[in-house]
């Protein structure tokens, strides 16, 4: 199994670390909805087929990626930066075409240092 990293190009899965289901949404940190947190932490659809997952290219550029993967065939589809369009300039040409299919997210509003 190989994952085409948008920065590094196709790499062996051994360079990547699985970081979980990318379809769950974290509740508002202030939320006291116990069921909501329970769903976020524990409830998984465990689909046999197409799945959206978070992987980190831990043995490479260390970027966090959203990987579309088929859990039956291990076929890897579109791969994009988890951080969204902030790093869109740093994509290999082959990965750019795939990235277009996914909706670009707003650039991360990361605070600049000293502010």
């Amino acid at each position: 199994m190989r994952i085409p990293c948008p920065y590094c190009g196709p790499r062996d899965v051994g360079e990547f670390t699985y970081q979980g289901d990318a379809t769950v949404t974290r509740p508002d940190p202030a939320s006291t909805d116990q069921d909501g947190w329970n769903r976020y932490v524990y409830d998984r659809a465990n689909p046999a087929g197409k799945h959206s997952e978070v992987w980190q290219h831990s043995g490479g550029c260390r970027a966090h990626l959203i990987v579309e993967r088929d859990t039956l065939t291990h076929a890897v589809g579109a791969v994009r930066y988890a951080r969204g369009s902030a790093t869109k300039a740093a994509a290999r040409p082959a990965a750019k075409a795939a990235a277009k299919k996914t909706s670009p997210r707003k650039p991360a509003t990361r605070a600049k240092a000293g502010k």
Binding site: Y7, G60, Y81, T87, R92, A113
Partner: protein, 194 residues
């Protein structure tokens, strides 16, 4: 200036080794005085590239792995918005700290945290291919560019600085182990340590 000690210790064995009369690879420790990591905030990548150019004179292509080498200085991208900048001389850290302001990104001086290991020669590609699952052919990995990869959890940044020459950066604490493995892997082609 304090004399820096190589982490290679007794594993550094100058001379010819292996079977071939003509060494297929030369292995050396360049001991650069400065190894500095630049990280640009998202959106400030071009400003970071301009700052690197200002401090080193190196023009880096704005693409994944883009890099360049000139006059004892080298730089290459190894991750989105991140570059490793190397100078054979000391003092690059302060120069880059002055060039990269806090609105642009961060500067981390890794001079004592990374070890540079150089492998060159006609069989350098062959030897490195035994370690890393990446394409070392010059078409896929052009001169000047950088790659981030790993061998058995030894995280490695590699810059191709010539047709047959690669500069490999590893954590200092892993340097002796990696060096020893590199020498073993080079035995079949014959190698010379200098």
């Amino acid at each position: 200036m304090v004399e820096r000690e190589s982490p290679l210790g007794a594993a550094y064995t100058p001379g010819r080794h292996g079977v071939a009369d003509k060494p297929g690879a030369q292995i050396s420790e360049p001991r650069p005085g400065s190894i500095v990591e630049i990280v640009a905030w998202p959106g400030s990548e071009k400003a970071a590239l301009a700052a690197i150019k200002g401090a080193t004179g190196l023009t880096l292509p704005d693409r994944p792995g883009g890099g360049a080498s000139k006059a004892g200085k080298s730089a290459f991208g190894f991750a989105p918005g991140r570059w490793l900048v190397i100078d054979q001389a000391e003092g690059l850290g302060p120069a880059l700290r002055a060039a990269v302001d806090s609105e642009t990104g961060t500067v981390t001086d890794l001079s004592h945290g990374r070890t540079a290991i150089r492998i060159e020669g006609v069989r350098a590609e062959w030897v490195l291919s035994k370690f890393f699952a990446i394409d070392f052919s010059v078409e896929a990995f052009p001169v000047g560019e950088g790659r981030s990869t790993a061998h058995h959890d030894i995280f490695t940044q590699i810059q191709r600085t010539g047709d047959d020459r690669f500069d490999v950066y590893v954590f200092r604490s892993f340097a002796r182990a990696f060096w020893t493995s590199l020498c073993h892997a080079s035995e079949e082609v014959g190698y010379e340590v200098s």
